[in-house]
């Protein structure tokens, strides 16, 4: 695995709150746009295509 799936965020509750707060006041369409922008920004930050493919597969698992 090249994808980090062990705990890696020092303040997980802070991150989670920031994520949910970002969606405050947005309708479903805008929320979907925000999520998409976020995925693209983070994917570019990761950069490693193998890690991204692993993340896509893990996210898809069970759906």
């Amino acid at each position: 695995m090249r994808l980090e799936t062990e705990p890696n965020i020092p303040a997980p509750d802070d991150f989670y709150q920031a994520l949910i707060d970002a969606h405050a006041g947005l309708d479903d369409q805008r929320s979907a746009a925000l999520n998409a922008r976020l995925v693209l920004l983070l994917a570019n930050h990761v950069g490693d295509l193998e890690a991204l493919r692993e993340a896509i597969a893990l996210a898809r698992d069970g759906l």
Binding site: A32, A33, A36, L40, L41, N44
Partner: protein, 555 residues
């Protein structure tokens, strides 16, 4: 609708009516691919005839963009000057999203190339220039000669040909089928032709107007004047502009091509009341597909008859002309008995891989331009929104990945590297052009390389003995000696010497004194070394030309 009268060519009753013409190569279809094959075979001294069911160049909107590599091939064939002179050069593309410019790109940041990134020219003008060249090299097109049937066997193909005056047969050792996307030759051979149909329709309008739009490619996603769809604007020669409106799958093609529907769309895009004239209007759908194999015994498919892509990326005509470039030197060697027919299997492998690359790129562009699901559309718009501020997102915008030549990786004709090279070029790449001085005149490397097997030898002052040995082993192979700027006197002795005036030849080839490149007749790299090795050279030459053992052909 067509306000231009295309050139017509005379039909001449064939002398073989009721009988048979025997010829080494018959080419079916006088489009750009068929005519490229005919010119190339003529330059290789192989007798061929082109059969076409019509008597004009193509009408209406077809190909318009010719990429640098295609221009280099057309230059080798001897008709690039007319085409570049007649066409419109462009490098800048702009992408708009809704009501604003998302970003712009420049296709050719690198100088030192004879040809621009792209030349735009209506296909009928390209064909006229190519047909003039074919005539100049003594090639023959038989207009209004329709191939009505094909009977291939182990040694050749018998074509039944219909003319206004009756029928005759053409017995050819080889047939190149360049008869387009609807290829009747495919049907005669009963070949399967399946692929992905894109559920979308596009309106093409070629508009003649005196516009102050710059010579750039403009692509709109979801513009205010055509909501939820895409629009492409491209300039051609003679103040003709190509406008491409995405219409969606449910559009009625017969309604949409009516001027009363088309004119308001163009008017809304122009945003003013400048005068314009419709030169051509059509509504099209497209598919991405290819034949499983391009070589079927003595019948060889090329261009749209072999593979089809979406128009985004200009990969149709460009790949077809590159098919011709790959095929003709091989076929010439086989016809002359210098190589076994097995050499043609490398056309199949190399150009099938190129077609797959083109289909992959064009399918991805189409998926971006026409998102297939709600979430696909959400991501597409997110990419476009982010592209305004963020360079990384611009790399994800896909309004067409413009045609790049294929590299024939791991081809049976190419010799893998044994020496280390720092260069973007690898065995299988098309050779890079660069400015050089030849006999005191400024010129270009690829002009000197031409259309035969060639060797580039980067002159080493202390190793003139290597050059002597190379010349002894070169035989028919053209040797081009590359000397550093100011080193013109290093050559001599009847050898072509080019002076690397800007150092770009050495840089692009990652070359040092003593480096040797072996090029195929299609100017793709076959092998390269850091120093002379007679045995390695002999092996690579035999491998790159599919050279047949003399004994194998003795019978």
């Amino acid at each position: 609708m067509n306000s231009r009268t295309p050139a017509r060519f005379p039909y001449i009753p064939p002398p073989e009516l009721g009988g048979e013409l025997r010829i080494p190569v018959a080419i079916v279809g006088a489009g750009p691919v068929g005519v490229a094959c005919a010119i190339d075979l003529a330059l290789h001294g192989v007798q061929a005839v082109v059969l076409d069911d019509n008597d004009t160049v193509s009408t209406g909107s077809r190909a318009i963009c010719y990429a640098k590599r295609t221009l280099e091939i057309l230059d080798r064939l001897g008709c690039a000057e007319t085409i570049t002179g007649r066409g419109v050069c462009w490098n800048v593309g702009k992408v708009f999203h809704r009501d604003r410019l998302a970003y712009q790109f420049d296709l050719l940041p690198e100088g030192g190339h004879k040809h621009p990134a792209f030349v735009n020219l209506q296909q009928y003008l390209l064909e006229e220039a190519m047909l003039a060249r074919l005539q100049a090299v003594g090639g023959e097109v038989r207009w209004k000669n329709r191939v009505a049937g094909a009977a291939p066997d182990a040694d050749g193909v018998t074509l039944s040909v219909e003319t206004p005056d009756g029928t005759y047969r053409v017995r050819a050792d080889w047939v190149i089928a360049c008869d387009g996307a609807r290829s009747p030759m495919r049907d005669y051979l009963g070949l399967d032709w399946q692929g992905q149909i894109f559920r979308d329709r596009f309106l093409i309008a070629d508009v003649r107007m005196v516009g102050d739009y710059p010579t750039e490619r403009w692509f709109w996603f979801d513009p205010p004047f055509h909501p939820n769809q895409s629009v492409l604007l491209h300039r051609q020669a003679d103040d003709v502009w190509r406008i491409d409106f995405q219409l969606g799958w449910n559009a009625d093609p017969d309604e949409e091509r009516k001027p009363e529907r088309v004119i308001p769309r163009i008017r809304a895009m122009l945003g003013d009341d400048r005068p314009f004239e419709l030169e051509w209007v059509s509504v099209y759908t497209f598919q991405c597909r290819r034949l499983d194999r391009f070589v079927h015994g003595r019948v060889i498919f090329a261009g749209d008859a072999a593979h089809q892509v979406s128009p985004f990326g200009a990969r149709g005509a460009n790949s077809g002309i590159q098919d011709a470039d790959n095929l003709c030197w091989k076929l010439a060697r086989v016809v002359r008995g210098e190589a076994a027919p097995a050499l043609l299997a490398t056309y199949d492998v190399e150009r099938v891989a190129a077609a797959d690359e083109n289909i992959l790129n064009s399918t991805r562009s189409t998926d971006f331009i026409t998102p297939k699901s709600t979430m696909s559309r959400v991501f597409r718009d997110a990419v476009l929104d982010l592209s305004v501020k963020h360079a990384f997102a611009r790399r994800l915008v896909n309004s067409g990945r413009l045609s790049m030549p294929a590299t024939y990786r791991e081809s049976a004709l190419d010799t893998p590297d044994t020496d280390a090279f720092v260069s973007v070029l690898v065995p299988g790449s098309p050779a890079s052009d660069a400015p050089v001085r030849i006999d005191g005149h400024l010129g270009w490397l690829l002009d000197r390389v031409g259309g035969a097997s060639a060797v580039l030898y980067f002159m080493a002052a202390d190793r003139s003995a290597d050059l002597e040995r190379l010349l002894q082993h070169a035989g028919e192979i053209r040797v081009v000696v590359v000397v550093p700027a100011g080193g013109g006197a290093l050559g001599g002795g009847g050898v072509a010497v080019v002076e690397d005036i800007d150092g770009l030849v050495a840089r692009r080839y990652g070359a040092a004194p003593g480096t040797i490149y072996l090029l195929r007749p299609d100017q793709h790299i076959a092998a390269r070394w850091r120093r002379w090795d007679a045995q390695a050279f002999e092996r690579a030459v035999a491998r790159s030309t599919g050279r047949q053992e003399v004994t194998a052909h003795a019978a």
